[in-house]
């Protein structure tokens, strides 16, 4: 008789539990945990994880997996405790423990797991402008006088350079790996389209010209990035970076050329500087930058300034005369110059997690 009574009570309990919503069952499970009734908890909430209707919210999932982890710890079921903790970290990859609430056993287990992203993928797009750095000046005019001006800065007598500062566009995707102490390694692929203007003035103001030189580079930057308050949640986090880049020139063209003096000059349709070997295809750059990142859940929005200083001559010094039309019609001879760039990008960085127990 007594056994029948207990069976009836248990059946009623199960029936009662199955009639509750998952949220109610989670609250009940947490009460059971506080009261030391651990054994029934996994069964009471276990089927809530897979149900489409009445399923847990994300916040409830986090509470439920944390609760299961604690139950399995305190029932000495370590494999299940680890599985529950991994599930918890999949739902909340950077789940933070609270020393005031979470027991030491949970913190001990937590610390044995990889809770940081295994890597991040960054996507950035933005604008750039170039700063040609002349190493050696070459001109069909008198080299003893300042007669060549880049990006519209300068002029002679009462005539300003016609050039303007050009804005280019760049986009990149990066692989980002955290090392330690806020330090990350960043490597990626960038495509940068840019252009600059140059004005040539001759001995007499009646003759001058303006030319726009355009480039498209595929670049492989590799950088070290340090972020202040790396683990801080919420708010802006400033960072700085330095690095190097291999730069491969995909395209280089004269896209605009005008001449003042004489009859109108018409630029040929396709002035390919790579085809005439006027420019060097390979280059490398030093990169320095600062930025801000703003956490969005476990991901980030970023805004970043970079200054990039190329190491080598953009112009092939053995072929600066290979475009006779530009040389003679415009009197333009390319300088030996490095191309430096200032860029501003905004981006979004995805954090990729793979929670697992760390070795040792």
């Amino acid at each position: 008789m007594r056994e029948k009574l207990l069976g009836a009570i248990l059946a009623l309990t199960v029936i009662s539990a199955s009639a509750q919503t998952c949220s109610q069952r989670l609250v009940q499970a947490e009460r059971d945990y506080e009261n030391g009734r651990l054994q029934s908890i996994p069964d009471n909430i276990g089927d809530c994880f897979g149900r489409r209707d009445g399923d847990f919210s994300k916040e409830e999932r986090i509470r439920a997996y944390r609760l299961l982890t604690l139950v399995h710890i305190f029932t000495d079921n370590e494999p299940e405790a680890e599985r529950s903790l991994i599930s918890l970290l999949r739902v909340d990859p950077e789940h933070q423990l609270d020393e005031r609430v979470d027991p030491a056993e949970l913190r001990l287990l937590y610390n044995q797991f990889q809770t940081r992203p295994i890597f991040r993928i960054g996507f950035r797009a933005g604008i750039n402008t170039s700063f040609p750095q002349v190493m050696d000046s070459f001109t069909a005019s008198d080299a003893n006088f300042d007669n060549k001006f880049y990006n519209g800065r300068g002029g002679v007598e009462n005539q300003d350079a016609a050039g303007v500062r050009r804005i280019g566009f760049n986009g990149e995707v990066t692989y980002e790996q955290y090392f330690k102490a806020g330090l990350e390694g960043v490597a990626g692929l960038q495509v940068r389209a840019s252009s600059y203007d140059v004005d040539n003035f001759f001995n007499d103001p009646f003759f001058n010209n303006n030319i726009t030189n355009s480039q498209v580079y595929a670049r492989l930057p590799i950088m070290a990035r340090y972020t202040l308050n790396y683990d801080k949640r919420g708010g802006f986090q400033p960072y700085g970076l330095i690095g190097l880049s291999y730069d491969f020139l995909i395209s280089a063209r004269y896209v605009n050329a005008t001449r003042r003096g004489g009859s109108q000059f018409t630029l040929a349709d396709n002035v390919d500087l790579l085809a005439s070997n006027q420019v060097n295809r390979h280059n490398a750059s030093f990169i320095a930058g600062i930025g801000l990142r703003f956490p969005v859940q476990t991901h980030f929005l970023t805004a970043e300034f970079r200054y990039e200083k190329s190491f080598f001559n953009y112009i092939d010094e053995d072929n600066r005369y290979s475009n006779q039309s530009i040389n003679f019609d415009l009197g333009h001879v390319e300088d030996n110059l490095r191309l430096d760039f200032l860029s501003l990008t905004i981006g979004y960085t995805l954090s990729i997690y793979n929670p697992k127990r760390l070795n040792n």
Partner: protein
């Protein structure tokens, strides 16, 4: 691979840094444009071997007075301007009442530390011979004119003969009885010769004309074989054979030396008209270039003449040079020099299919045979560009003076430095 990327970048940067070590310095380029508004064209280039500097001269139309003046330009070894001057040398004393006088270029010679210029002072009605002496910085030391009432004179070349100047040019009248000039018409012209003392510019020591029936012209005068003077020009003395090259040997008072008057018919072609543009002096003779033309066809030519100790002149080579099939073999030689590789280089002008004309550079062997495939064209994509003169520098490069046509009447002087392959130097 990713782990090795920093190392790879470092290696690339180190290698690139090594290859970029050469310091070119400013001004090692050699395509240069010079001039101001009104530049008409270049004439000659003189290379100062002791300094590497070059002196260019040409003609400029002054904007204020709408008249042509002498334009002098001095550049350093890198082609950068050192000094430039524009001189109005017109004969205001003689023709002071006439407006719009023009300086017409003849020749500029360097003797020691002085430059000797000869040309013409012209307007629509009159022409006189003009000469001037400058220092190497274009300071005018002396100038003078030779004007003869009723006669148009034009100065073409000169040389300093001790304290005197020997001047040659043209006159449209006979100044010495016995020289055959059938009439004083525009089609008739004699070679004019004069000897002056520049210290006393108003006095003419000797002057006379030489020539034949028809139109004679002169380009060049030089002293050779001790007491001989040679003049090189053109003559129509054998009118059935067109205008031909004339080489004439004279004594110091401009009388013929024996029978040394040679007419050279280029390539044996009748009815072609030769025009002489430049003479290169060798140790034992002269190499001459110009054009041999008939109708729309014009060919550059190469003539090599030599003289022996007694002053006898012989013709060693006389032939036209084919340019290219695409331009109908046309071209005009305007300047010639002996290159550092033992070949001759001729600069000039040749027509092109898609524009007016371009600067021409030809190379011949020592015998004047056009080296196969050595024919280079330079210039703008439109307009009429002309190569004017060529000299060899002490470093074995070739300096080419040319005139580039920007269109709408705007020209510039251009100086190119090329190697013996015709490639522009850096």
């Amino acid at each position: 691979m990713i782990k090795n990327l920093p190392l790879l970048l470092f290696i690339i940067i180190v290698i690139g840094s090594c290859s970029d070590a050469e310091d070119l310095g400013p001004g090692d380029t050699f395509l240069k444009y010079y001039g101001e508004a009104g530049i008409q064209g270049g004439e000659e280039i003189l290379y100062l071997s002791e300094s590497g500097e070059s002196i260019l001269y040409g003609v400029q139309i002054s904007a204020e007075e709408a008249q042509s003046d002498l334009y002098l330009l001095k550049v350093d070894a890198n082609g950068n301007e050192i000094a430039s001057e524009t001189y109005d040398l017109t004969d205001t004393a003689t023709f002071g009442s006439e407006a719009r006088f023009n300086d017409i270029a003849g020749s500029l010679r360097r003797e020691g530390s002085q430059l000797y210029f000869i040309g013409s002072s012209q307007n629509a009605n009159f022409s006189s011979l003009t000469w001037a002496i400058f220092d190497l910085d274009f300071g005018l030391e002396q100038q003078g004119w030779i004007s003869i009432d009723g006669v148009s004179l034009a100065g073409k070349d000169l040389f300093a003969d001790n304290e005197e100047l020997v001047l040659v040019g043209t006159a449209d009248a006979v100044l010495q009885p016995g020289d055959p000039l059938s009439s004083n018409s525009a089609d008739e012209q004699q070679i004019y010769l004069a000897r002056i003392n520049p210290a006393d510019p108003d006095s003419i020591l000797v002057q006379r004309t030489r020539g034949f029936e028809g139109r004679d012209d002169v380009l060049y005068v030089d002293r050779f074989a001790d007491d001989n003077i040679v003049i090189i020009g053109t003559t129509q003395r054998t009118s059935s054979r067109g205008t031909n090259i004339l080489v004439m040997a004279l004594n110091d008072i401009f009388s013929p030396r024996g029978n040394e008057e040679i007419s050279i018919v280029i390539g044996g072609e009748d009815n072609y008209n030769e025009e002489v543009f430049d003479v290169y002096k060798r140790d034992d003779g002269y190499v001459i270039t110009g054009s041999s033309s008939r109708g729309p066809s014009a060919f550059p030519f190469f003539v090599n003449i030599s003289y022996n100790a007694s002053g006898t002149i012989t013709i060693d080579q006389r032939d036209t040079l084919g340019v290219s099939a695409s331009t109908g073999n046309n071209g005009v030689g305007r300047g010639i020099t002996f290159g550092p590789n033992g070949n001759y280089f001729i600069v000039g002008v040749m027509p092109t299919l898609d524009k007016g004309s371009e600067i021409m550079l030809l190379q011949t062997d020592q015998s004047g045979n056009h080296l196969e495939a050595f024919e280079r064209g330079y210039g703008l994509t439109a307009g009429n560009d002309t190569g004017n003169d060529i000299v060899v520098t002490t470093d074995g490069s070739l300096l080419i003076l040319s005139t580039v046509d920007l269109g709408q009447g705007n020209n510039l002087l251009s100086l190119m430095k090329v190697n013996t392959k015709g490639d522009l130097m850096r």
